[in-house]
C-alpha cells in the first residue's frame, strides 16, 4: 500500500532537518516571565537551605555542648552494650529465682550420697555456695575420704 502524501512528507523529513513549524507550543508570555520565575525559585531554594542549616545549628547549640558525630556513635554503642547487660542481668536473676524455687520444692536426691547426708539438715543455698567455692581437688578429697 503506497504511503499517503502526509506520511511520505514525514518520511522525507527524516532525510532532512525540519524547517519552521513545530507541533508544540507554549502558553502566551511563558518565556517573557520565565527568567523572573527562575530567579524566584533559586531564592526560595536558597532560603530553604539556609533555614535547614539554621535549624540544625539551633538544635546543636541548645544542648550543653557540641557532641562530635563519632562521640555520638560511641555513646550509642555503649548504650546498646549497657542495655544488653541489663537484660541479661534481669533474665539471670529471674531464671535463678525460678530455678531455686523449683529446686526448693523438689526433694534432694539422697541415693549414693553418703558424705552429704547432712545436706538435708542444712539450708540448700548455703550448701550450693559452699559447693561452688570448692575446688576440684577439694571435692575429690571429700569424695575419696568419704569412701
Amino acid at each position: 500500500m503506497p504511503m499517503t502524501t502526509d506520511k511520505l512528507h514525514t518520511h522525507r523529513m527524516m532525510q532532512t532537518p525540519p524547517q519552521g513549524h513545530s507541533p508544540f507550543c507554549v502558553p502566551d508570555g511563558y518565556f517573557a516571565s520565565l527568567q523572573s520565575r527562575v530567579m524566584d525559585s533559586i531564592k526560595q531554594t536558597e532560603n530553604r537551605q539556609k533555614q535547614a542549616t539554621q535549624t540544625t545549628t539551633t538544635c546543636r547549640t541548645s544542648s550543653a555542648q557540641l557532641v562530635p558525630a563519632r562521640s555520638r556513635q560511641g555513646q550509642r554503642f555503649w548504650m546498646r552494650i549497657a542495655a544488653a547487660a541489663i537484660f541479661t542481668g534481669i533474665f539471670s536473676v529471674v531464671g535463678t529465682t525460678l530455678y531455686r524455687q523449683h529446686t526448693d520444692d523438689t526433694p534432694l536426691p539422697t541415693d549414693n550420697i553418703t558424705s552429704m547426708s547432712s545436706i538435708t539438715d542444712i539450708e540448700y543455698n548455703d550448701d550450693l555456695l559452699d559447693y561452688a567455692m570448692l575446688s576440684n581437688s577439694d571435692i575429690a578429697y571429700y569424695l575419696t575420704s568419704a569412701e
Binding site: 500500500m1 503506497p2 504511503m3 499517503t4 502526509d6 506520511k7 512528507h9 514525514t10 518520511h11 523529513m13 527524516m14 532537518p17 525540519p18 513545530s22 507541533p23 508544540f24 507550543c25 507554549v26 502558553p27 511563558y30 518565556f31 520565565l34 527568567q35 520565575r37 527562575v38 530567579m39 525559585s41 533559586i42 531554594t45
Partner: protein, 184 residues
C-alpha cells in the same frame, strides 16, 4: 566566544553573578526548553525540569571551570534531568500499577488532550514513533533532528563518541521509518 567568556567571568564574580545568571537564563531558556519538551512532551513537566536545570546550574556555578562551553554544560544538565525524570516517572507508574502512558496509545491520548500541542495526525504518529525509542536514543534523535546539533557538540554534551552517536541516530531513523511503514 568573546561574549561567552565575558559572561563566564561575570558569573564567577559574586558581585555580578546574579545579573549575569539572569542573562544566562535569557539566552538559553528557549533551546533548553525545547530540548526538554521533545523528551517529556508535556509543557508543565518541561517547566518543572527547566527550573530544576537552572537551579542546579546556579548551585554548580562554583564548580564550572569553563572547560566546556556554557551551552554544552547546560545541555548536559538538562539531558541528565530529563533522563532522571523519565526514570522516576516509569518507577512511579510501576509502583502504583498505573497504565503505562509511554505506549503508543498513551502518547496519542496525551497529545490529543494537550492544549499545547497542535500537530496533525502525521505529527502525532511521528511523536509516537520517537517515544517508542529508548530514552538515550530518543535524546540523540531529538538533538540531531529537532535541534540540529552537530555530532561533535552532542558528543561533548552526552559524553559519547561521535561514531556511537552516528550509529545511534541511524538506528533511530530506521526504527521510525519502520514504524511508519507498518502503519501503511
Amino acid at each position: 566566544m568573546h561574549y561567552e567568556q565575558d559572561l563566564i567571568q561575570r558569573l564567577s564574580d559574586p558581585a555580578t553573578r546574579e545579573q549575569a545568571f539572569g542573562t544566562l537564563v535569557q539566552k538559553f531558556q528557549e533551546p533548553l526548553y525545547w530540548q526538554i519538551r521533545h523528551m517529556v512532551l508535556d509543557h508543565y513537566d518541561t517547566d518543572d525540569i527547566l527550573q530544576n536545570v537552572f537551579i542546579k546550574a546556579w548551585q554548580g556555578l562554583d564548580n564550572f571551570r569553563g572547560d566546556s562551553r556554557l551551552s554544552t554544560w547546560l545541555y548536559r544538565i538538562a539531558s541528565n534531568e530529563c533522563l532522571n525524570f523519565l526514570q522516576r516517572q516509569k518507577q512511579t507508574r510501576l509502583s502504583l500499577s498505573l497504565t503505562d502512558d509511554s505506549t503508543s496509545d498513551g502518547i496519542r491520548l496525551q497529545l490529543e488532550s494537550d492544549p499545547y500541542f497542535d500537530g496533525d495526525e502525521t505529527e502525532i504518529q511521528l511523536q509516537q514513533a520517537i517515544q517508542s525509542l529508548p530514552p538515550k536514543q530518543r535524546q540523540v534523535f531529538n538533538m540531531k533532528y529537532f535541534q540540529e546539533l552537530r555530532y561533535e557538540e552532542m558528543s561533548e554534551i552526552l559524553g559519547t563518541s561521535v561514531g556511537a552517536l552516528k550509529a545511534s541516530y541511524h538506528h533511530a531513523v530506521n526504527k521510525i521509518t519502520a514504524f511508519f511503514k507498518q502503519l501503511d
